[in-house]
Subunit: 141 residues, 2 copies
DNA sequence: AAAACTGATTTCATTTTGCAAGCAGAAAAT
DNA sequence: ATTTTCTGCTTGCAAAATGAAATCAGTTTT
């Protein structure tokens, strides 16, 4: 993720990968979209075990990019709720295509594959319904 | 891309990102799929200017992963032709979803956006036709 | 008052990347 | 025939990113 240096190109794939082309960023988005995670410690506890400094760095970058939003939990002054913007929710189709490919070619956990396949077989409508629901869940305030 | 160490999880997104979750890998695939590039020097000449050692590294990893195939050019003994396997061609939908997102949120080159939008609007059929054609072009021998 | 939990920071070793130059071999040009 | 150019690829080294562990100051909970 570049700070705001000049872009190397204006190719659509490059511009996307410049934002989320690394090992962790899309996994954080996955945590939020698929697993409904919202707090720092939840992200830390994911199977892949991201380091806390990297997590902090990515959350900041994602907020700066306008993909997530930081809000303080009204119920717990010290807790911070991370939620997705529309820009973040729109990464969902990318996550699904990655899942599709992995299910075909890698040894994906059978339950997770089943869960993903349900959405894939549901087609565009199912996917849009999920995204619509996500937009409600993640709406500000 | 991990050598063959234990996977951190069997989550579909993680397993995919473990293969192509970096700045360069999908750009090489883009070069092959979108721009029809087949030779080392062609990849080197892309706008984003990948370093030659990184390129070598990624091409090796992609071959090891079974995403690309190396063949020597019968017309030019010293030239090597890199082509896509089915596993590589199946990354095309991911590239398209990334393009879709970038066109919506980033300053994508207008001509490249138009080219991508044509495919997007063509729907699943257009996409499948392109992939079928790619499979012919990239078939071994 | 102590303990546990919050998001984050610090330190430091390891790994990955970026950059520039250079390589041997093959083909093309002179 | 010999120089020049082109091929995929390597090397050396600096810079940046990552990983791991310990630690932090507040805030809740016990």
């Amino acid at each position: 993720m570049e700070k705001s240096i000049k872009y190397k190109s204006h190719c659509p794939q490059y511009l996307g990968l410049d934002v989320f082309g690394d090992k962790w960023t899309l996994l954080i988005i996955r945590d939020m979209i698929i697993d409904g995670k919202r707090h720092f410690r939840e992200f830390l506890s994911s199977e892949e075990k991201i380091a806390s400094n990297i997590l902090t760095n990515r959350l900041q970058a994602l907020e700066l990019e306008g993909i997530i939003r930081k809000e303080s939990d009204p119920m717990h002054k010290q807790k911070i709720i991370y939620s997705l913007t529309e820009k973040g929710i729109d990464l969902f189709p990318i996550l699904m295509e990655i899942a599709k490919w992995s299910i075909k070619y890698k040894e994906v956990d059978i339950e997770k594959a089943a869960r993903a396949n349900k959405i894939i077989k549901g087609g565009k409508e199912t996917q849009q319904a999920i995204m619509k629901e996500l937009k409600r869940e993640h709406s500000p305030n």
